[in-house]
């Protein structure tokens, strides 16, 4: 849990440096997206699409040493950038920590202003999906 918050604070710090320069902020988010590891071509299928996003977002997971790894991709660079932030915060964590994570960085960096209200719904859908995956893994562990 502490790790999750440490990363969130790190992101908040980075966005503070950008200030309210929207141009730099947008380009920065897109560059972050560019740095995501390649998404396997075979997984770019309907089943892996998150519903509720305006852009197409593919999300897959696997469990490594009891920790959930997320891999994602999108057809738009801005969404890919946003999801890269979520991955940075949530990937490689225990299911329980993901489920309980309070993602305060989103509001702190003013994401609503950056992406507009329609996209904010998409972002909420991404987070929900990530937490759902965590819940599913957790129930397997508990079973």
């Amino acid at each position: 849990m502490e790790d999750i918050n440490a990363i969130q604070d790190e992101i908040i710090g980075e966005f503070e440096i950008l200030g309210d320069d929207k141009e730099s902020t947008i380009y920065y988010i897109m560059e972050l997206g560019d740095q995501l590891p390649d998404f396997p071509e075979t997984e770019r299928k309907e089943d892996n699409i998150i519903k509720g996003c305006q852009s197409k977002v593919w999300l897959i997971t696997n469990l490594q040493d009891g920790k959930i790894q997320f891999l994602a991709d999108s057809n738009t660079a801005i969404t890919k950038g946003l999801i890269s932030l979520l991955i940075r915060v949530l990937s490689g964590r225990k299911a329980k920590d993901i489920m309980n994570a309070d993602l305060y960085f989103i509001e702190k960096i003013g994401m609503g202003n950056i992406i507009g209200s329609q996209r904010s719904n998409g972002l909420a859908a991404m987070i929900k999906q990530m937490k759902m995956f965590a819940l599913a893994y957790q129930s397997k562990i508990d079973a």
Binding site: M30, T76, I115
Partner: protein, 417 residues
Amino acid sequence: MSDLVEVIDSRKKIDVNKIREDFPVLHQEVNGKPLAYFDNAATTQKPLQVIDALQAYYEKDNSNIHRGAHTLASRATAHFESTRNHIREFINAPSSEEVIFTKGTTESINLVANTYGRKFIQEGDEIIISTMEHHSNIVPWQMLCENNNAILKVIPIFKNGELDFEAYKKLLSPKTKLVAVVHASNALGTVNPIKDMIQLAHEYGAKFLVDGAQSTAHLPVDVQELDCDFLAFSAHKLYGPTGVGVLYGKRELLEKMPPYQGGGEMIKEVRFENTTYNDIPYKFEAGTPNIADVIAFDQALTFIKDCGKDKIHAHESQLLAYAFDKCATIKGFEPIGTADEKVSVMSFNIKNTHPFDVGIMLDASGIAVRTGHHCTQPLMDWYGIEGTVRASFAVYNTVEEIDRLYNSLVRIAKRKN
């Protein structure tokens, strides 16, 4: 002598800086940059004259029209009807009774589909539209065809965004009852040879509806010269308010058509046994109309007249040519729609970049464009693309703004090209 030449030349041109003073919305910063508004095909900004007229109406004249015996009601009625007459002049309709107020282009088209269409389109009849139609000139006809068992035919286009005229000729037949085609495409900018198309349709006895949503602000539109049977357009794309549209129809057709909606205003007498309908145009204007916005629209028409449509067109054409020439040098710039005859719409994609990303990066630089399918999904499917970025220019846009667009696009294109 050269001084005089200069003076004469400048008189032929639009004084953009002066015009911009009339548009308060343009003088603001967006994301820390001066706003460059290039989404004019979606809706134009409104000059002070229009904004003031709206305010003045509510401050001084507000009342319901065609009813009250009092002074305010007659003032409002006079303004309302004088706007109708100015619209008649604007499109050179034979009489103002052929000018019907609606909510917009969409409602104008639906009105025709639901009245003329329901009554006069029979089973097996054919309606022709084109590949580049806006959804509002597709779906009402699909609904009508489904209801009346009629058949919808689609004119194909060429890669440059021009209509395939020969194919159009082949689609026409005695079965064709109606042709509904856009005068200027909102997604491509293509200006269609509407006059020749109308003449041909008439040879087969078919009626012709012109979707003038994008042409009326930029080109001369004379319904008598075109000889169109219907013309639909929206005030908000003509520097006027939202919520006002126009349907022009030839008198003999309007008189034959059943009413659209029932209610007040559209009746002569109402009895429980039977009701008689009002004369045109009121037969199609049930209920209290959008009085304030109609009256304010009058000021938009005056604004256009004062600018001079030929001058507006010259200015916008110059901007379009300038923008295209400049952007064509950008690596990865892919124009969509390169017809010879165009209104000031520059539709394009940047290679390896989603149109939405282009839009959001431009917005971050204070530049407003439209991205997506522009309500022309079948057209986008035809091109095999998800959408485009569209910059559309109006009378108040400047060369400097286009330079900013260009500079931003250079940076955007560099990311992935």
